[in-house]
Symmetry: C2
Subunit: 267 residues, 2 copies
């Protein structure tokens, strides 16, 4: 499945994904711990931003992390080795054509992947085949429609909408977080439970102001500036004002809200 | 301060406020408990929807609940008596002209009130005068800009926007939740801490589907149907479709999200 990855693959993007991962680790991952000896498939590991946390949280689990991009895997392997982690095996593979035996994993972990797929239910359904009976799937996704802030700004919403639109054109869905419950149910998982992970940022939390509002969210929107303007979906002045307004929410009286969704389902 | 109360004062509205209160009690109020003997002012108690919980959670506290509407107070008194609560004293009073001595309350509690005021910072500032040094203020507000759902619907957002607009015309702010941090700071409170209380509803939680999505939120939007259409801010067909789409989010594959904000500050 070839697909334009809306966030790009450059070095600056790697740094952004890393900043994001370290700020959000607690909020998103602290309750994901797999037992020693269990076989875990991380589907779509990218540059390994989540892999490190996954492997650290479950030191006894045997983790197989796959991604369709060999370039990303090189970086993921490097980072994992650097962190001294030895319980992760990386492999280049396509979610829709996995080189594994069915019913072979105890748990599957999918983070920030479904948003980029044109057929998320089929992806989940395919992954289910590789899960043992009674095993769990954990899915984490953001939702760009969950972003709101103070001071309010129409331009900021328009700039965010550019990423949503570009992701839609690449057959993805940047507002998929809210849909995890129906998606996992449609894919045939049982006992689906979803918990929202809301990031609330005001200036009493300088680390989040810097690590999330500025370096994660606003940097991500800024990252599509060129493609958004080039594609004609927004005027440059509006986009730039929107970005300025997003940075404005990081000031002393500003507030920024965003919600991730974490879903768990059983086979 | 005379002000049109956008939700109205009829019996059906009382029932809605009561439904809302019982569904959300845990989420909003479980961490508000005042010590025995402390004097608490509830500013803007309305029909007493929150008063019952407040009084039950802090049985030893001496609660003074005021509201500008005598009609609402009659209902609030009735309900409190019915619940057998004896630690609440009701009084008709205006937040901007309180009949109390300054520095006389240990704690102040303000829930779903600021959204209806044209001068929320001045209201907070005035209330602060009646708070003892070191005392706390607790403020709870919703934010209608925090509502999003699946399936997505532009019409539903337009219907919600009607309430926002009507409240704006009545000099209120239906999206005030996100602003609590700057508002309390501007009013001079110290150590302001805000925690969002997100209501996430999918069909695995039938009580919330019924009690929140349908009977609280959608019923509230439906409640402004006549005024919204009469004022010409929306076409009847769009409003009705919006309401239908909100009810649609209460079906088996639907999801509904809304966030309240709770802020605490010290004098």
């Amino acid at each position: 499945m070839k697909k334009a990855y809306v966030h790009g693959y450059d070095h600056r993007e790697n740094i952004r994904l890393q900043d994001q991962a370290s700020t959000l680790v607690e909020l998103l991952h602290s309750d994901t711990k797999y037992p020693a000896g269990s076989r875990v498939l991380e589907a779509g590991c990218g540059v390994g931003a989540q892999t490190i946390t996954l492997a650290k949280n479950s030191p006894g689990a045997l983790i197989t992390s796959i991604d369709i991009s060999e370039t990303s895997l090189v970086e993921a392997r490097r980072k994992t080795a650097e962190a001294g982690l030895t319980n992760v095996y990386f492999e280049q593979a396509d979610i829709f054509n996995l080189p594994y035996v069915e019913d072979s994993f105890d748990h599957i972990f999918v983070c920030f992947v479904l948003e980029h797929l044109s057929r998320p239910v089929e992806a989940l359904n395919t992954l289910k085949d590789y899960l043992k009976e009674g095993g769990t799937i954990t899915v984490i996704e953001g939702d760009h429609g969950s972003a709101y802030f103070y001071p309010k700004s129409e331009d900021a919403h328009k700039a965010i909408q550019c990423l949503v639109e570009l992701q839609r054109r690449a057959c993805g869905n940047a507002m998929i977080g809210r849909e995890l419950y129906p998606l996992l149910n449609q894919a045939g998982f049982k006992s689906v439970r979803v918990s929202p992970r809301m990031v609330y940022v005001d200036s009493s939390k300088p680390q989040l102001v810097d690590g999330f509002t500025k370096k994660t969210f606003t940097a991500m929107i800024e990252g599509v500036r060129e493609s958004a303007i080039k594609s004609g979906i927004i005027e440059q002045s509006v986009f730039d004002q929107g970005i300025q307004d997003l940075y404005r929410t990081a000031e002393a009286d500003g507030v920024f809200c965003y919600t991730f969704f974490k879903a768990i389902g059983n086979k």
